[in-house]
């Protein structure tokens, strides 16, 4: 009787029903409150333009905190001096861009007028290439393993995802303690009869650990994306392959990889964008050293704008605009790939 009554819209009873009634009542009250002004606005601008009213709050938010700073940055990049307000800054046109792009050879940072910028560009490219390969490879392997029905799968998924939750600065500090002269790794090495290795003095080691720490910290996120892709592949395809006696490598090569390709592309582009922007982890871990071996573009921008005594916001702004242009292109690629995947 009760079920029949409920199914026909009879009043619900019990605590959850009461709570739902309160919530519904609250929502109704809100609707009653907002209904008259919304109707008034609709009468004023017409129903077709109403979506823009709902977009307005977000547009204002993004305008203030995203587009306005971008605009200010562009103004800074074409003005000089040390003033912070545009009215205090003389217009210098493309002077900062010309300075950044003034190079004998773009392959030789030392031949550039702003050599540190190009060292940053070179280091960022190196970091990006190694990080992309390592990140995609290890994320893929981990996702493939975690997709199998192994014991403690949930636990391992959590373990791999845990570093993603940590702040990049905390990650870098943990690894700095491990890798420094009197750190954990050197303690293990010396206990085993080996010699201490000064990881932050050798440029090769410094770059290796920068990539390693970054992969360690973020791999869980990309593993999760790939795992979702793997689980979306229909089981019957694998079953058909199994019935045909297809070997595991061929299954991976002919089934898994093609069907996972859209996810892999998204991961590739996301890793690429993140690598180009890298700063905090590497800065805390190596300080950009030894010399300038791990100094990335963003560190150059930070140093030019804030760490030098004369804070050259114009030059830093111009470098940011160039970096922004690269990131914009990469984002367009990501959008294109995402759309293609969706369609």
């Amino acid at each position: 009787m009760t079920d029949t009554m409920r199914s026909h819209g009879a009043p619900a009873r019990g605590p959850s029903a009461a709570a739902a009634a309160v919530t519904t009542g609250g929502a109704n009250a809100l609707m009653r409150l907002t209904d008259p002004p919304m109707r008034a606005v609709q009468r004023l601008i017409g129903a077709a333009r109403m979506p823009y009213v709902f977009l307005l709050p977000n547009l204002v938010f993004f305008g203030l905190f995203v587009f306005l700073p971008i605009g200010i940055n562009i103004v800074f990049s074409v003005t000089g001096g040390t003033g912070l307000f545009p009215s205090e800054r003389p217009y210098v046109g493309a002077e900062h861009f010309a300075r950044l792009l003034d190079c004998g050879s773009y392959l030789e940072a030392g031949s550039c007028r702003e050599d540190l910028f190009w060292r940053g560009v070179g280091n960022t490219l190196t970091f990006t290439v190694f990080q992309m390969v390592a990140m995609v490879l290890f994320s893929l392997i981990t996702a493939l393993v975690l997709n199998r029905p192994i014991r403690g799968r949930g636990f391992f998924r959590a373990v791999y995802f845990f570093p993603v939750l940590l702040s990049p600065v905390v990650v870098a500090l943990i690894w700095k303690w491990i890798l420094q002269r009197d750190g954990l790794l050197n303690a293990v090495l010396t206990t085993a009869g080996g010699e201490k290795i000064l990881f932050f003095v050798d440029p090769g080691w410094a770059m290796f650990w920068s990539v390693f720490v970054s992969v360690w910290a973020h791999m869980g996120f990309y593993t999760l994306i790939l795992l979702a892709g793997l689980q979306a592949i229909p089981r019957d395809v694998y079953e058909a392959a199994e019935m045909d006696g297809t070997r595991p490598w061929r299954v991976f090569h002919r089934i898994t990889l093609p069907l996972l390709w859209p996810n892999l592309l998204v991961v590739l582009v996301l890793v690429l964008i993140r690598s180009v922007q890298v700063f905090d982890e590497v800065f805390v871990l190596t300080g950009g050293g030894p010399g300038t071996a791990t100094m990335m573009v963003v560190q150059y921008i930070y140093t030019t704008a804030f760490a030098n005594q004369v804070q050259n916001f114009g030059l830093a702004g111009a470098a940011s605009v160039l970096l922004g242009a690269v990131l914009f292109v990469l984002t367009l690629i990501q959008l294109f790939l995402s759309r293609r995947r969706a369609s």
Binding site: G80, G81, T82, G83, L84, F85, S87, E88, R89, P90, V92, G110, D115, L116, R181, D182, L198, F200, V201, P203, T286, G287, G288, G289, P290, G291, T292, A293, T294, M295, Q299, T303, F306, A307, N308, Q309, V310, Q311, N312, G314, L315
Partner: protein, 427 residues
């Protein structure tokens, strides 16, 4: 009756307002960094000031030194900032400092006792402003791990020893006792210039243009690079970070890993507290170069900022802190070399210092008298920090083999010229 009620009401309102007025407090904020215990001592003094000045509350915002160097200048450039700050880049921040002459009791007292250092805080051309006072005068100089010398059985170089003498001795000690850092310099342009002045660096202005790289500078730069090549200095300090980043070696010295540590008087208090009886350490006079045996003067000043909207209260607070009695207590409890001429002449009784800290302070006190005039001029130059940063950034690259010394000299000159040009740009 109605009229009486109205009057009573008004009287009550007035009395409440009056009471509120009497209770109204002006809050002053100080941005402050500490090397040792000076934050604690300053807090004690501020509470005493508040007890004597019920209308003023002072908040000491303790921040890392990096915030003073990097955050404060941006704040000030944007027209924001605290009422006062403890700063070291006096020349660079001079345009933002408030002249408190109109708000202090006795301008002559300030001139008489802080005069020589006030020039460091004034914008070029100004000879009268009083922006603040020196919370400490510092002088660069070396600390030596005496225990390591004794363990190695190596004789310590005597008075008037050269940099070369100390480098050889420290290397010999380090080799025998397996210390990883024979000689360590803080990765700081100011510390590098301690060496450079003794080698004859002038940082002179020629034809209206600053010439940071001269023969003295080159001699010092070559010494640093050669020491890194021969293992006298370790790349871990100057090579391990990039750009203008400061890297001290105090932790390594405290852990007995450094034989000879070029730093300065401000480390005395923390070494006294943290090293304790772990090993014997001493401060020794700055080694000599071909030009002189001078280090670099420096220090930290507590300055009033133009961003403050309470200049009278700021003046009153500075008068209190800079008074002879209070300053004396501050220097004595923090184990700082006084930046107060009168107290420097009378001498400070460092009652809380151990015998070795007291001895170190005596060495640094004596070193003040041996400072070369060029060192004072460089410290007071508003572009000094530009030169210091450029030097440290480029020499760091040479140390790890990224570039040559000659290329570094060109880059240093170009970096300095470019930054000065940017600073001069006006609308």
């Amino acid at each position: 009756m109605k009229k009486a009620a109205w009057m009573a009401g008004c009287a009550l309102a007035l009395s409440i307002l009056g009471a509120a007025g009497a209770q109204a407090q002006t809050t002053l904020r100080i941005m402050w960094y500490s090397d040792g215990n000076e934050g604690e001592v300053m807090n004690d003094l501020l509470r005493r000031f508040e007890a004597q000045n019920k209308d003023v509350k002072v908040v000491l915002d303790q921040v890392p030194f990096k915030a003073i160097n990097e955050t404060l200048p941006v704040q000030l450039a944007s027209g924001q900032g605290p009422d006062l700050a403890r700063i070291t880049d006096m020349g660079g921040l001079a345009p933002y400092l408030m002249d408190v002459r109109a708000h202090v009791k006795d301008v002559a007292y300030w001139e008489q006792n802080y005069g020589p250092f006030l020039q460091w805080m004034r914008v070029p051309g100004n000879t009268t402003a009083i922006p603040g006072y020196m919370t400490q005068l510092t002088v660069t100089g070396p600390f030596v791990n005496k225990t390591l010398f004794e363990q190695a059985g190596v004789a310590m170089p005597g008075a008037n020893a050269t940099w070369d003498d100390w480098a050889k001795a420290a290397k010999a000690v380090a080799d025998k006792v397996q210390a990883p850092f024979p000689v360590a310099f803080d990765r700081s342009g100011h510390r590098f210039f301690g060496l450079a002045v003794s080698q004859g660096a002038q940082m002179a202005e020629v034809g209206g243009e600053l010439k940071p790289v001269d023969d003295g500078f080159k001699r010092a730069a070559k010494l640093v690079v050669d020491w890194h090549k021969s293992g006298v200095m370790s790349k871990e300090l100057w090579g391990a970070v990039s750009g203008t980043a400061y890297r001290g070696a105090n932790e390594e010295f405290k852990n007995a890993q450094v034989v000879f540590y070029e730093s300065g008087s401000w480390q005395t208090a923390q070494f006294d507290k943290t090293i304790g009886d772990a090993f014997d350490w001493i401060a020794v006079p700055t080694p000599c170069g071909p030009a002189n045996c001078s280090g670099m003067p420096g220090g930290a000043a507590l300055v009033a900022l133009k961003t403050s909207s309470h200049p009278a209260e700021v003046g009153r607070l500075l008068d209190f802190l800079a008074s002879e009695e209070v300053a004396n207590e501050f220097y004595a409890r923090t184990l700082f070399v006084p930046g107060h001429i009168g107290l420097a002449k009378k001498g400070i009784a460092y009652k809380s210092a151990s015998p070795q800290a007291a001895a170190a302070l005596k060495v640094f006190g004596d070193a003040v008298g041996k400072l070369d005039p060029v060192a004072y001029r460089i410290q007071g130059d508003p572009s000094s920090r530009i030169v210091f940063n450029a030097a440290i950034s480029r020499l760091g690259q040479v140390v790890v083999g990224e570039t040559s010394l000659d290329d570094a000299y060109q880059r240093i000159s170009a970096d300095v010229a470019q930054q000065i040009a940017e600073r001069r740009k006006k609308q």
